[in-house]
């Protein structure tokens, strides 16, 4: 139980993908202009991150570390390129299926899905899974990967949502012309990162 909580808390606060690992900065700046789209994007990230974590872990454990195939040492050099392929195809598949089966969900979530297909935060999560959990049993590694995906996604959403709230207020701030928009957003982001630095060392 304790280790699950550690994963959860660690990925949301201590090792927050955006604010302490500086992964996924592109959507962090791009989609943080208003809170509703930040929330939509966050939901999409959680969804894709879980999907990517589980599917790549299954690929890694089931094929690369398979007893008959392990002698080819595919896990040493083939992980990133095959993960990208796997995630991209899966997100495509989910998008197509969602369009047909759940049009309402597609309207709110679907537009964000292609934006984060193989975002560096997603790829970072899968790599973190490999480093942390590949030594565990098949079922356990899948469960922990999924949890890491959820926690990472929630951390991402938290940072994105906070940022969107700040930027909505910055819109009305009297700023020098040259600081408006992205420059002040970067400064605000650095302030948030400093604040999250306070969580360091808890785990």
């Amino acid at each position: 139980m304790k280790e699950y909580l550690t994963i959860m808390f660690g990925l949301v606060f201590v090792q927050n993908f955006i604010l302490s690992q500086f992964l996924g900065l592109c959507p962090f700046i791009g989609v943080s202009k208003n809170r509703s789209s930040a929330l939509g994007m966050g939901m999409a990230v959680i969804f894709v991150m879980v999907l990517a974590s589980v599917s790549t872990m299954a690929l890694y454990k089931g094929v690369f570390l398979n007893e008959t195939l392990i002698k080819y040492e595919m896990d040493k050099y083939l992980d990133i390129v095959s993960f990208i392929l796997m995630i991209a195809a899966l997100v495509q598949f989910v998008e197509i299926a969602m369009k047909k089966m759940a049009p309402a969900l597609y309207q709110t979530l679907g537009i964000f899905l292609p934006l984060i297909t193989t975002n560096c935060a997603i790829l970072g999560a899968t790599q973190m899974n490999v480093v942390k959990f590949s030594g565990l049993g098949f079922a356990e590694s899948l469960i922990k990967s999924a949890l890491l995906g959820v926690a990472g996604g929630i951390g991402f959403t938290l940072a994105l949502f906070l940022m969107a709230g700040i930027r909505e207020r910055l819109e009305n701030a009297p700023l020098p012309e040259s600081m408006k928009g992205v420059p002040i957003a970067f400064i605000a982001a650095s302030g948030m990162a400093l604040a999250f630095l306070g969580f360091q060392g808890i785990i």
Binding site: Y77, L78, L85, A89, I96, N172
Partner: protein, 280 residues
């Protein structure tokens, strides 16, 4: 090396087959007319039609049978284009323009306002933002000009917004952002307009602003159609009754009822000539 090639090829082939199968199995039929209608719209996504954006309106027209003349920026042009796609006759829509119901240049300032320079920010601050003596008139911070998606509003030197009717499409964005709801959107034929929003009693209004409506009632007495009334110390035109004769314009001692018939007419003929040139 060979192992890597084989592994990637197998992975790619498997995933490709799954996707190919999925796109067949989950294929969604979309009406090609939706895209055609979307192309006929101006694409400003202003929301004046009542739908969240141009694509939502296009979908509503094709799939739910929404009226084809709802697009205000596109006006008659896009309604006719949509009518051609949908196979229905378009009825011409009358262009609509925004007019600002304040003409108070040089209203005395109570203090120098240092806050955020948007009308909404000033008005939510209550007394601290009420830097201008008239509590009903234009604040002059230009939120409407910023909100206009067509660049039709320009702030004049007297700190009043001026609407360029060559660019205005009557989408109503300016009326939405104005905290005092001063811009009023009306059809082109509505040429008589009261350019004041001051609801104070005459003496007080007169003190606040040189151009304020003092509620004298001259217009009310002059009107042969019972169409203009002083309500809450402010002249208000009932456009259902108004025959646009312009008698009230002449009697107003403050000259704040205006008649823009001549300008509108000139602009209309210019527009029609241009349209005729384009079709020829």
């Amino acid at each position: 090396m060979t192992v890597a090639i084989i592994a990637m090829a197998v992975l790619g082939a498997v995933l490709g087959l799954i996707l190919a199968y999925a796109s067949k199995k989950f294929h969604v039929e979309t009406d090609p007319r939706v895209d055609q209608v979307l192309e006929a719209l101006p694409g400003a996504n202003c929301g004046a039609c009542g739908y969240p954006g141009c694509s939502a309106y296009a979908e509503a027209v094709v799939l739910k049978g929404a009226p084809i003349n709802m697009c205000i920026p596109g006006a008659t042009g896009s309604a006719m284009a949509i009518g051609k796609i949908m196979g229905v006759e378009a009825t011409a829509t009358e262009p609509r323009f925004a007019m600002v119901s304040c003409n108070g240049d040089g209203v005395a300032q109570r203090f120098e306002y240092q806050g955020v320079k948007t009308c909404n920010a000033a008005s939510v601050m209550g007394l601290a933002g009420a830097f201008q003596n008239c509590p009903y008139g234009c604040l002059g911070l230009g939120s409407c000009a910023k909100a206009c998606p067509f660049g039709a509003i320009r702030m004049g030197e007297d700190n009043l917004p001026y609407v360029d009717e060559n660019l205005c499409t009557g989408c109503g964005k300016c009326a939405e952002v104005c905290p005092r709801k001063l811009p009023k959107v009306g059809p082109e034929s509505r040429v008589i307009f009261v350019r004041c929003n001051n609801k104070d009693r005459g003496a007080l209004a007169n003190k606040t602003c040189n151009h304020a409506c003092i509620g004298c009632g001259k217009c009310e007495r002059e009107c042969p159609f019972d169409a203009i009334h002083v309500i809450n110390n402010l002249a208000v035109i009932d456009y259902d009754k108004c025959k646009l004769c312009g008698k009230c314009v002449n009697v107003c001692p403050k000259n704040l009822i205006i008649n823009v018939r001549a300008e509108r007419k000139a602009r209309k003929t210019a527009r029609e000539e241009k349209a005729a040139e384009e079709t020829a």
